[in-house]
Structure formats: C-alpha cells, structure tokens
C-alpha cells in the first residue's frame, strides 16, 4: 500500500476517483479473492478499472455460470461470492442464480451495469428494470446514484449479504456513475438503522427448551443449513452428545453432523431414510436447528410430527411458525444458541429406549437397491465414488435423481463439503458451482456429480475448467433421461414419458475432448472402478460419462401429499 493510500485510510479523510475505481478498491478492502463475471457495454468502465487492478477475475462463458460459480464458492467458504454482469441480458441471465441463492440463504454480492442515468426509463439499448426484476429474489438491492456512495454501498452490501440470515445483495450501477469522478471517504460508516439481526438468543427461551428436553422421552434434533451457515457443527455434536439426542438432517444440512456418529439418524424428507422420517413422525420433542420446514422435508403438514412439541432455533424470526406451529421459538444464531445450551448442561432426557428404537430402525430398514454385478446401477456409482475418495471429497451436484442418490449414498463426516441447489432445484447448477468450490479449496478433491440432462444446461463452463486447469472430477450419471421427471411420470402419470427420454445425446467424451479435457465413457462396474482410480490420480480435470442402468428410481419415497409414516420402497 502506498503512503498516500495509508493516509487516506484515516477516518474522515476523502479521496477522489471514479465510481469504477471506488468499486474495485472496495472489493479489495473486503479481501475478495475471486470475482466471476462477464463484460458488456454498461460495465466497460468497471472492466477497465479491473484490467490492471490485480483482482482475480474468472470469465465464465455465460452469466448463469458466473453466479452459480459464486454460489459454489460461497457455499464452501461462507464468504460472499462476487459477480459482475452487464446491463439488460447480462443482468437477466443471473436471475436464476439470485433466486437460487435467495432460497438457500447464500451470501452473494452481485454488480450489474445499468444504462446511463440520463436515459434510464427510455427503453435504452440493453436497459432492463433490474431493481424491479430482482427485488423479490434479493435480500436487498441498490441502484447507485452517485459515485461517491459506492464505498458505503459496497461495505453495506457485504455486511448484509453475510450477516444474519445470509442472502444475495445486488448493486445496479449506471454507466455514468462508474465513469464519473467523485470525492468520498474510503471507509465510511454504514447507514443501516433498520437492520439489526438478532444473534443472541433470549435466555428465557433457552431455559424453556432445556426444560422441554429434560421431560422428553423421544427427542430428536433436526439439523438444517443454519447449522452450517453458523459454522456450528462442533457445537451441534457436543450438544447432541451431552444430551444423548439423535440427529436427523435436511438435504442442505448434510455434513452438519457426522454420518459415522452413533446418534446420526440420516436425512429426512421425500427421499430420506426410513429411520429419520419415523423419528420425525414419532418424536415427542422436535428441536429444529436452522431448518425452514420445507415441504420436501415435512411431507403432508397435517401428518407432520403429530405428537411433538416443536422447538425452533432460527436466526430469521419469520421462519419460526411459518409452516409448523412452534411452542418454543428461539431467535438467534445457531452457534450461540447451541453454545448456551451446552453451557447450561440441562437435565438429561430419559431417551435410551428411543435411541435404541431408532438404532433398530436404522439396522432393519437401511437404504437398498436391487442389482448384481452385471449392471452398473447409479447408486453403485456413488458408492464407488465414496470408496475411492474415502468419503473425503467435496461433492457438488446438479438436480434430479443423481442428486438424491448422492445425498443418500455419499455419507459425510465433515461439514462444508456438500454443495447442492436445494430450495430452487436449479438444473445447470453443478458444473459452474464446482468451479467455485474448487477455487474456494484448491487442494480439495471436488467431484461434480451431474445428470446427463442438467450437464447440458451449463456445459460451456468446461472452457473455464480447462483454462484454469481445475482438477474437478466430473461424473455424469448418464441414464439417458430427465430421470427425476421420468420417475414421476412412471409413478404418477401412467408411464406416459412425455419429453423426458433423451434419445439423441452428443458424445460427452468428444465434447470434453473438444475443450481439452480428458474423458472416458464407462459402462461396467469394473470400468467405473478403474476410471475413478485414474481420475483421482490425475492432476487436471477429467470427465467420466458413466452409463448407468436406465429406469432406476429413487427410493424410499414419500409420495406427494403423504406423511412420514407412509414411505414407499422401504424394504425389499
């Protein structure tokens, strides 16, 4: 840092520069490691400032790729992912990613270019009402009116995105605002009088929860994504162990509690395990830590945890009581709340019979699939991946059957290694998100588990993987279909496979080859073993197009409208 810059850091001191330079310097101040983006007319001034700024920028090949990559980065690090897109089509191309980040509470700071202030509202070239479009899918959004406001707005955006319940924040920057020079403080005060997230839980509510636990016979913890956002998996483990309470997790809560633990029950919900869903159904005390009672988790609400007293720890008060009536609300950060619960060391519940019962369910009704060694089943692919990576990889998935199989068969003993699009269920998420995840942890093994259909939604990002030589292991679970759609048509639409079977696929091997990425087609268990071993000893990227038995369905399953006690496909 130059002498001048150091002096300018002093409070109240002002510097003069262009909006674009204020922006770049504000990013540096936030220690941004990587920016994902795509240039265009309205952001040319910003890209010009970026040119020799030293900020690491990744040019994805589509703006949707930028924002999913930023999500992948944020999902691993917990730090906001940063995106730049141009006005109009650039901005509308990131809409899916914003909605995805909003519903899964992912911190992002997204910059969009906008037409010049003087022509806003005139349907100028590449003008779109980005604030209007993104209002319902951002935690907050801004349009910058004066270049001098940028340092404050960027600082606020990072704070809003990453504090409280995380979420995406968008900053729309008219072209003239990026160009114009202004005088401003580099490190101004934030001006957010209406934003004070509650972190510290109320002591009386904690006492109530402790009392409820002490009287419970069948307590269960439901661990959601909030545990991971709060970086509270250590506390969760300590608390569950201290009180002897079994733990069920949600799809986005994967990794929050170690799968090899005796109190681990497994994933609940539509494709969760029998023991987890029965534990939710029969419990007398349900302690929800940072889950939002999504419908894929609860099934039919009328049949949800019918005997349970519900306690809910959540940083977002609006989540408490939204879907499930809640007797004991605890508003606060999951890490704080769990730490207090541990410190209070409340009277233990008499739950040994209950824990025994759950253990029996686990033993009696484990996950299973039919098949011998003659056929390569998709579940087997995930099992092999688990075996070859010692369960130690970062697994990034797309959306569909392969996602559910990955959730079921790749068991995690550590947090922050599972990256999936849960709430929005965004196909096309996997390949770019894997790029973000690998950049977040360059030394980790990143496995991108993707369906043959979803892969084709964002496969242009192979260019980035090749360019940066990211050692991502792309596993296409190729069932020649929009598998999850095909499954629903089989089960609920009399096997009328309307537009869900992919007869005509490109050669994914040749496609990868065109990008300069090593690739193999795999059709047998032996080949799968061999190629996976090779993949894991290969330094660079590799793609395995694994042809699995088509027609396989994800089980067990709670059919739509059914309750947790009505699972199908539980036993052979």
């Amino acid at each position: 840092m130059t002498q001048k810059a150091v002096i300018a850091e002093k409070k109240g001191e002002k510097t003069t520069k262009s909006g674009a330079n204020f922006l770049i310097d504000a990013l540096k101040k936030q220690n941004v490691e990587v920016v994902f983006g795509y240039p265009g007319g309205a952001v040319l001034p910003i890209y010009d400032a970026l040119y020799d700024s030293g900020v690491f920028h990744v040019l994805t090949r589509h703006e949707q790729g930028s924002i999913h990559a930023a999500e992948g980065y944020a999902r691993i690090t917990g730090k906001p992912g940063v995106v730049i897109a141009t006005s109009g089509p650039g901005a509308t191309n990131i809409v899916t990613g914003l909605a995805d980040a909003m519903i899964d509470s992912i911190p992002l700071v997204v910059f969009t270019g906008q037409v010049a202030t003087s022509v806003i509202g005139s349907d100028a070239f590449q003008e779109a009402d980005v604030l209007g479009i993104t209002t319902p899918i951002t935690k907050h959004n801004y349009q910058v009116r004066k270049p001098g406001d940028l340092p404050r707005i960027v600082k606020e955006a990072f704070y809003i995105a990453s504090s409280g319940r995380p979420g995406p924040v968008l900053i729309d920057i008219p072209k003239d605002v990026a160009i114009l020079q202004a005088e401003a403080e580099e490190d101004p005060e934030m001006d957010l009088p209406g934003y004070q997230p509650t972190l510290q839980p109320n002591y009386l509510q904690i006492r109530k929860l402790i009392e409820a636990v002490s009287g419970a016979k069948k307590p269960v913890i439901l661990a959601g994504a909030g545990v991971l956002h709060a970086r509270a998996s250590e506390e969760l483990k300590k608390y569950a162990e201290q009180q002897g309470i079994p733990v069920v997790h949600t799809l986005l809560g994967i990794g929050g509690f170690p799968a090899d633990h005796s109190l681990f029950v497994g994933m609940g919900g539509m494709h969760g395990v029998y023991a987890a869903n029965m534990a939710l159904y029969e419990c007398d005390l349900l302690i929800n830590v940072g889950a939002r009672f999504d419908d894929r988790l609860t099934g039919n609400l009328a049949a949800f945890a019918p005997q349970a007293t519900v306690a809910h720890i959540d940083i977002d008060p609006a989540e408490i009581g939204k879907n499930v009536p809640t007797k004991i609300p605890v508003v606060g950060d999951a890490k704080e709340a769990l730490a207090q619960l541990i410190a209070q060391n409340g009277k233990l519940p008499e739950a040994s019979e209950w824990v025994q019962k759950i253990t029996e369910w686990k033993e009696k009704f484990p996950l299973f699939y039919e098949g011998d060694s003659s056929e390569l089943k998709p579940q087997k692919v995930i099992e092999l991946l688990h075996k070859k990576t010692n369960g130690d990889a970062i697994v990034v998935t797309d959306v569909g059957q392969h996602q559910m199989w990955a959730a079921q068969y790749y068991t995690f003993n550590k947090p922050h290694a599972w990256v999936t699009s849960g709430g929005l269920g965004t196909m096309g998420f996997c390949v770019p998100a894997a790029i973000g995840a690998q950049l977040a942890e360059p030394d980790a093994t990143v496995a991108a588990v993707v369906g043959d259909a979803g892969f084709q939604m964002t496969n242009q990002e192979l260019a980035v993987i090749a360019e940066l030589n990211l050692p991502i292991k792309i596993i296409i679970v190729n069932n020649h279909s929009l598998g999850m759609v095909r499954q629903w048509q089989e089960l609920f639409y009399q096997e009328r496979y309307s537009h869900s079977l992919l007869q005509n696929q490109p050669s994914f091997v040749k496609l990868a080859d065109a990008y300069g990425i090593k690739a193999y087609k795999v059709t047998t268990i032996e080949e799968a073993e061999e190629r996976m071993s090779e993949a894991l000893t290969t330094d660079g990227p590799i793609l395995l197009d694994i042809h699995v038995a088509p027609g396989e369905n994800v089980y067990p399953m709670i059919a739509p409208g059914k309750g947790h006690h009505e699972m199908e496909g539980v036993k052979k």
Partner: protein, 164 residues
Amino acid sequence: MVNNRPGVLNRITNLFSKRNYNIESITVGHSEQEGISRITVVVQVDDEKVIEQMTKQLNKQIDVLKVMDISNQSIVSRELALIKVLATSQNRSEIYALIEPFRASAIDVSKDSLTVQITGESGKIEAFIELLKPYGIKELARTGTTAFPRGTQRTNSNKSLSIV
C-alpha cells in the same frame, strides 16, 4: 416507518404479492422525521398468524425501520374521499342536507353535478357513499386509510382490519 429511498415502496408491495397477501389500501407520505416515510397498509385477514408472518417479513426488509400491527390498539385513522354526484336543481338541497351531518363539504359545483369531500374513518365514508348512491355517483376517489396509535391507549377497539 421506512427509509425514504428508491425502491422501498416497490419492495413492500412486492412482498405482499410474493407472499400472496391482498392489500385493501396503502398510503404513503412523509413522517415527522426527515427522510422517513410512514406507510399505512390495510389488509383483510382471517388468521392472526398471517398478520404475524406479514409483520415479520416486513421487518426483514433492510429499509423498514419499524412495523406495528395496530389492529387491536386504539388508533386515530382517517381516509379522504372525493365524490362527484349527479345533482339537479331539484335535489341539490337534499344532497346538501346529507353533507352537513357527515361534516363533509362541497368543493366543486357544476350545472349537473356536485363534488363532495369527506374525511373520516372508512366506515363513515362507506355509509356516506351508500347515501349518495341513489343520486348517481359519477366519479369516486378514495385515498385509503392512514393511521397511528392514539396518544393514550385504551384497549379493545377490536377490528378486522390490520394496519402495518
């Protein structure tokens, strides 16, 4: 109470439609503090839980400073309506006779019509409109209710409307 910043009103009305809540009326204007506006929203709900959700969702907005559900408080609430009613020389005085007890006022007169301004609680305005209907209402404009709690609180003026 909200920060008077671009996009605030959009965020709030958007929230209502996103969450599938119906707005009966909404008024916005400056408050006693500079840069801060007061928004009054009237919604019809059957379920207390819905109001609770709305309040919580509104509170989450960064530019929302304070949300109050004042349905069950004693409040001062006013609405203004402009009503252009057909008036002939024969019935004009009859209409004036209605105006007076409602403390409304005639603010514009033409050959065949009369424009009346009335302020008050919504119930009063509705009653007045009913009385004018037989004469033929040509145009009607209502502002929607604006309100805040009374200086001294007496509880239990139970209403079905909720004002955030």
